[in-house]
């Protein structure tokens, strides 16, 4: 039995509050699970003119992944490097509290680094129905036959700016500006209710 009915899964939840953890919509096994419980350290790397290839190479060697200057996610055990524009990379790390400092030491004058730890909420979406859910708000083709593991895109979903990538066969990661967490979660719940959606959040901010 679902916590929140499929008739109106957002009934009674204020627009400016993030919907609470729980099961939404259709009962039975959830077709989509959504978690915002992972809080990686995040930094933005912008290569200075002429250094994009060099920066990509340094990032790849430092984090043990294959980084190219294109819209791809290079996924390692502890770190992920995502291309968001020419010479622009978002770096996520599970293990580097001073990620920006580490990157400054690594890249020196070749890039400008800004810490983004609290800028984004990390949505981890899993389940076979994820492409059907996201398709309701996306302008790009996320069909699993086209958008493969390691593919990344910076785009809009439900009119909200998103950087997303496919982590593995049935897992997608979406970064959304923190101030839009409530709105984006409402989109996910409303669009995923027909498949049954399990939401897990409620971690306190890093502060």
């Amino acid at each position: 039995m679902a916590d929140h009915s499929s008739h109106d899964p957002l009934a009674g939840i204020p627009f400016d509050r993030v919907p609470p953890s729980g099961a939404y919509g259709a009962g039975g096994a959830a077709g989509v699970t959504v978690a915002t419980t992972d809080t990686p350290f995040i930094a933005l790397v912008v290569a200075r003119n002429g250094f994009a290839a060099s920066v990509a190479g340094r990032l790849g060697r430092a984090f043990g992944v294959e980084v190219a200057d294109q819209a791809r996610a290079a996924i390692g055990a502890a770190s992920t490097v995502v291309g968001t524009g020419p010479g622009r990379f978002l770096v996520l790390s599970k293990t580097e509290p001073d990620l920006a400092g580490t990157l400054r030491a690594l890249l020196g004058v070749e890039a400008a680094i800004t810490e983004q730890d609290d800028a984004y909420v990390t949505f981890d979406l899993a389940g076979d129905k994820v492409p059907d859910l996201i398709a309701k708000g996306a302008l790009i083709d996320l069909d699993p036959r086209v958008f493969l593991p390691g593919h990344a895109a910076t785009t809009v979903i439900a009119h909200i700016g998103v950087t997303l990538w496919r982590v593995h066969e049935s897992g997608w990661r979406l970064l959304v500006a923190r101030s839009l967490e409530a709105s984006f979660t409402r989109f996910l719940v409303a669009s995923g209710a027909e498949f049954g959606l399990r939401l897990e959040n409620g971690t306190a901010g890093r502060g």
Binding site: G85, P86, I140, T154, T155
Partner: protein
């Protein structure tokens, strides 16, 4: 209308902001006729029926300026290159 961004791939026009004519060149402010040249540069626009080159900014994507070749009669877009790259829209 979809614009083939060189970095992002084909994207919906809603992701972009439009600026305008990409064929203009900023006049030399030190030239003798600079005042008239700047008036033309800022205010006067051709309105071609057919092939046109335009600036589009990929605001909800890679955040790069593109030079886009569009047919104003059909909206057919034949190519786009990053503004930072010299040359014709491919």
């Amino acid at each position: 209308m979809r614009i083939p961004c060189p970095y992002c791939g084909e994207r919906d026009a809603h992701e972009f902001a439009y600026l305008g004519d990409a064929t203009l060149t900023r006049p030399d402010p030190a030239a003798a006729e600079a005042e008239q040249a700047f008036h033309d540069y800022v205010y006067l626009r051709d309105n071609p029926a057919g092939a046109h080159e335009e600036w589009w900014y990929h605001a909800n994507g890679c955040r790069q300026w593109l030079r886009v070749a569009r047919d104003t009669r059909t909206h057919a877009i034949s190519g786009a290159v990053a503004a930072r790259v010299a040359g014709e829209p491919a």
